[in-house]
Every structure is written in structure tokens, then in C-alpha cells.
């Protein structure tokens, strides 16, 4: 459906890749994959050399490819994360103290130009963000729906796990409700291409979406209580512990990140 954004991953597509495809990454234990997300977050936070960051980013891109996932879509999905980087790092590229690259732009505030340091900072922040974005998507697109639900149920405290499980289940239903609403107004000649002129139509679509959600939750309460719900959805499904090899891999990642941080970044340990 064209009206839903191309720039935000459709959960249905994500799940479809996880359920219907196969690749070496699909076979990696989910706990392992999500532990590696953690290691990557730590790595991009502590690493301060562009080469290292770019290397990490390149590695996640390769993993994404090995999982058989579509690069073209990844490009579209980068739009929003990149926007966030630009909005924070964009100004810094100019303001960062250092030698300027090429000519300066005259502005009422004085001369502005991108500095080498600013450009490098920009590149670093981009690599940081996109490394984790790429690998998180790789992980969610190669982990089965039920396994993700199980991880959510295990990692979050009650009642947040309950909320998260219901959200996961009903996201699909709500996306379809929204899509139906959009279809219905388009079928009667509404144009959604301009926001301000169509603000009321937007308000109605969004209002109906929330209303549907609220009414659905009223029905959901009935159906859960009819089966004796007492505030606890426990999942009997099971995601096995990672294999020894997986564990070793994860341990190695963390050791590498911490070691690198201690030696190269903070200089706590000198070799």
C-alpha cells in the first residue's frame, strides 16, 4: 500500500522474512543474536576511531547480506536514522573546531564552513548509528516471531511484558485497520498528498484508528477474562540456551570490545 511509508519497516515484511526464509543467520540462536546487538551498542559507544567504526559498519552490512535480506529496502529504511544523525551532527560538522575544508559559506552570522574534524565526527556518528540499525534489523528479520515474543516475555518485568506481548500481537491488526481507513478515504476521492489542506481527514483517520484500538481493547478484556486471565501471559515456548560455540562467540565479542576500550580508548591497561 503506497500510503504507508517506505521509510519505516513494515512489521509484516520483517516477520515474513523471519518466517519464510532461511540463511545461516536464521539458524543462529536468538539469544546469541541479541547479545551481539548489546556488544555492538557498547562497541560503537566506546570506539572513537573512524576506521574501527567503519569496519564494524561494513561487517554488519556483510551479515545483512549473508542473511539474504534486501539492500534496496535497507537504503529506504536508513532515511529516518540518517535524518536524526543530520539533525544532531549536521550543525556540529560546521561548528566543530578545527581546520576547514575548502571555502566557507558567508552567512549573516559570519563565515561558516565544514571542518575536517566536523566531517569526521559526522562520519563517525553515521557509522555508529547505522551499524546498530543494520544489525538490529538483521536480527529481527532472521528471528522467528514466536522466539522474539519469548525473549520479550523473558526479559521484561511484569506487567510490561504483558503489554509488550499484546502490542506485538496487535501491531499487525492495527496496521491493517489503519490501511483500511486510508483505503476507504482514498476511494472517496480524498487526497492525502498535502497535510494542511487535508488535516481533518488525517484527524479522522487517526481518530478512528485510536477508537478502533480502544474498542478492540474492550473486547480483548472480555475474551481474556473469559479464559481466566489474571495478569499473566506466560509463554511455554522455549528458546534454548545458545550452544557452547555461540556462547564462546558472544564472550569473545564482549572481551574484544572491553579489551579494546581499556587498551586503546581509555588507556587503563597498557600493553
Amino acid at each position: 500500500m503506497t500510503t504507508l511509508s517506505n521509510h519505516v519497516p513494515d512489521p509484516r515484511l520483517i516477520t515474513a522474512y523471519a518466517e519464510h526464509r532461511d540463511s545461516p543467520l536464521h539458524r543462529v540462536n536468538p539469544w546469541t543474536k541479541f547479545s551481539i546487538v548489546g556488544a555492538l551498542v557498547l562497541a560503537v559507544t566506546v570506539a572513537d576511531a573512524l576506521v574501527i567504526l567503519a569496519g564494524l559498519y561494513a561487517a554488519t552490512l556483510v551479515a545483512y547480506g549473508i542473511a539474504g535480506l534486501p539492500y534496496r529496502r535497507l537504503g529506504l529504511w536508513y532515511t529516518l536514522p540518517l535524518l536524526f544523525i543530520v539533525s544532531v551532527a549536521g550543525p556540529l560538522a560546521f561548528l566543530e573546531p578545527g581546520t576547514s575544508i575548502g571555502g566557507a559559506i558567508g552567512t549573516p552570522l559570519g563565515e561558516l564552513s565544514v571542518t575536517w574534524e566536523g566531517a569526521i565526527l559526522f562520519a563517525e556518528l553515521s557509522c555508529r548509528s547505522l551499524t546498530v540499525v543494520t544489525f538490529t534489523l538483521t536480527a529481527t528479520m532472521t528471528t522467528r516471531y514466536a522466539d522474539i515474543a519469548y525473549l520479550l516475555g523473558r526479559m521484561l518485568p511484569n506487567p510490561i511484558d504483558q503489554v509488550a506481548l499484546l502490542t506485538y500481537r496487535f501491531t499487525f491488526v492495527m496496521v491493517e485497520t489503519l490501511e483500511d481507513l486510508v483505503k476507504a478515504v482514498l476511494a472517496r476521492g480524498a487526497t492525502l498528498s498535502e497535510f494542511w489542506a487535508n488535516r481533518r481527514t488525517y484527524a479522522r483517520i487517526l481518530g478512528m484508528t485510536l477508537l478502533t484500538a480502544i474498542e478492540r481493547s474492550e473486547r480483548l478484556v472480555k475474551s481474556m477474562e473469559a479464559r481466566g486471565y489474571d495478569g499473566d501471559i506466560t509463554l511455554y515456548g522455549d528458546v534454548p540456551r545458545p550452544s557452547l560455540r555461540g556462547l564462546a562467540g558472544v564472550a569473545l565479542c564482549y572481551v574484544a570490545v572491553v579489551g579494546y576500550a581499556l587498551v586503546a580508548v581509555y588507556g587503563v591497561v597498557s600493553l
Binding site: 551498542v41 536524526f84 492495527m174 481533518r200 484500538a213
Partner: protein
């Protein structure tokens, strides 16, 4: 969440740890309060589906400035109340991060910002309605103020943390961040107005939902909706 999320790796390690702790603290308090009140099925159902709706709305591209996406956090706060609003903010952030939007490491910071938006919007809305404001200005202002509070908080978080790897002095960083916050305030106004229209619409089709019906008074109700 109409606006900028903090991207992965923007902050140094100590800031990541700090905001995670603050976020955990906030959610801990909310969880404690919800648990203490006895977890009612209707709260869980509403929060679960409410978060799903907010997440679904995020899939819609709003054609402003070449396209923005919003979760309508202020609206969710007004409808679901402060406690559920905060939980919804957390859950939506978890799912967003899983889709590469926002950041895994900065879940704490991003949740803090969004929960603030929901909570502030809720209380302002309550207050303005008590002052007999009309539904549209009340909800539009509440959402705008809530979102602005979030934007300012986010600016503060960035300035306090400092950008990872940047040698820029805090004073200059503040200037850069002020621009960013300003931009976000613009989006807050748009989202606020949209929220106003949505609440107005909801009030016209289901007055009971937005506290206009004869709702129970007195009892401190954690959920905004009489489900």
C-alpha cells in the same frame, strides 16, 4: 516522537549508563504504582493495543516538510493517562528500536523524553478542561506543551551528555542544540494541532472517551480511559 530520536552511539558511555538508570527508575516507579493498584486486565489490554495503535500510526507518512512520522505521544497520554502513557512510551520505543528506529542503547533517554510528553500532555489537558476550555484548544495546547517539554528535555539531555567524540565546548553545543530544539518545537505545534483535531473528532463520536461524559470523579484513576 514526531521528531528526532537520539541515534545510537550519540553519547559517551557514562551518559548512556546515566540515562539508562534514570529511565529504569522512572519505569520502576510507574510499574510499582501500577502493580500496587492491582493490575487490572483493562489497563494491560488498553496499554497493549494503545501501543500497537501508536506504533501503527508511525507507519503513516504525513506530508509535511517532505514527510514526517508521528506516534502521537501527546494524544496517547491524554487518552491513556500518565501511567499507561509512560508504559506505552517504553514499549513503543522498544519496538521502534527493534526496527532500527531510535536506539537500543539510548532506550532510557528516548523513553524519558516520550514519557514526559505523555505525562505533561495528560496533566495539562486535565487542568485546561477543568478551567472550562473548549476541547480543541485544550487538547491542542496540552499536546503542544507536552511535546515541547519533551523537546526541551531532549535538548538538555544532549547538552548534559555531550556528543560522543566531539570536542565542541558545551556553550557552542548548546547553540547547535537550540536550533534542533527549535525545529522540534515547530513539529510539536503541528502535532499539537493534529492532536486537537483528533481529540475533537473523538469527542464528537465517543464523548465518554475523553472525559466529557460523566466520568467517575475523585478516585485517582491511573488510566485516562474509562474502559
Amino acid at each position: 516522537m514526531a521528531h528526532i530520536h537520539l541515534g545510537e552511539g550519540s553519547f559517551p558511555l557514562w551518559a548512556l549508563v546515566l540515562w539508562t538508570l534514570v529511565g529504569v527508575g522512572l519505569i520502576g516507579v510507574v510499574t510499582y504504582r501500577v502493580r500496587k493498584g492491582g493490575i487490572k486486565t483493562h489497563q494491560i489490554a488498553l496499554a497493549g493495543i494503545g501501543a500497537a495503535a501508536s506504533f501503527a500510526i508511525f507507519q503513516l507518512n504525513l506530508p509535511v516538510w517532505g514527510g514526517i512520522h508521528m506516534n502521537l505521544t501527546g494524544l496517547v497520554g491524554i487518552l491513556a493517562g500518565p501511567a499507561l502513557g509512560a508504559l506505552i512510551a517504553l514499549v513503543v520505543n522498544i519496538f521502534s528500536a527493534a526496527l532500527g528506529h531510535g536506539a537500543v542503547g539510548l532506550l532510557g533517554a528516548n523513553t524519558l523524553v516520550n514519557a514526559t510528553e505523555a505525562v505533561v500532555a495528560y496533566y495539562i489537558f486535565k487542568t485546561l478542561m477543568r478551567m472550562d476550555w473548549d476541547i480543541f484548544p485544550a487538547s491542542a495546547s496540552a499536546a503542544t506543551i507536552g511535546l515541547s517539554a519533551g523537546a526541551v528535555l531532549m535538548g538538555a539531555i544532549i547538552v548534559i551528555s555531550g556528543v560522543n567524540g566531539s570536542a565542541l565546548p558545551r556553550a557552542d553545543l548548546t547553540i547547535a542544540v537550540a536550533g534542533l530544539v527549535g525545529l522540534n518545537l515547530g513539529v510539536a505545534v503541528i502535532e499539537g494541532i493534529l492532536t486537537g483535531f483528533v481529540v475533537q473528532f473523538l469527542a464528537s463520536v465517543r464523548p465518554d472517551l475523553v472525559g466529557l461524559g460523566d466520568r467517575q470523579q475523585g478516585e485517582e484513576d491511573l488510566s485516562g480511559v474509562t474502559a
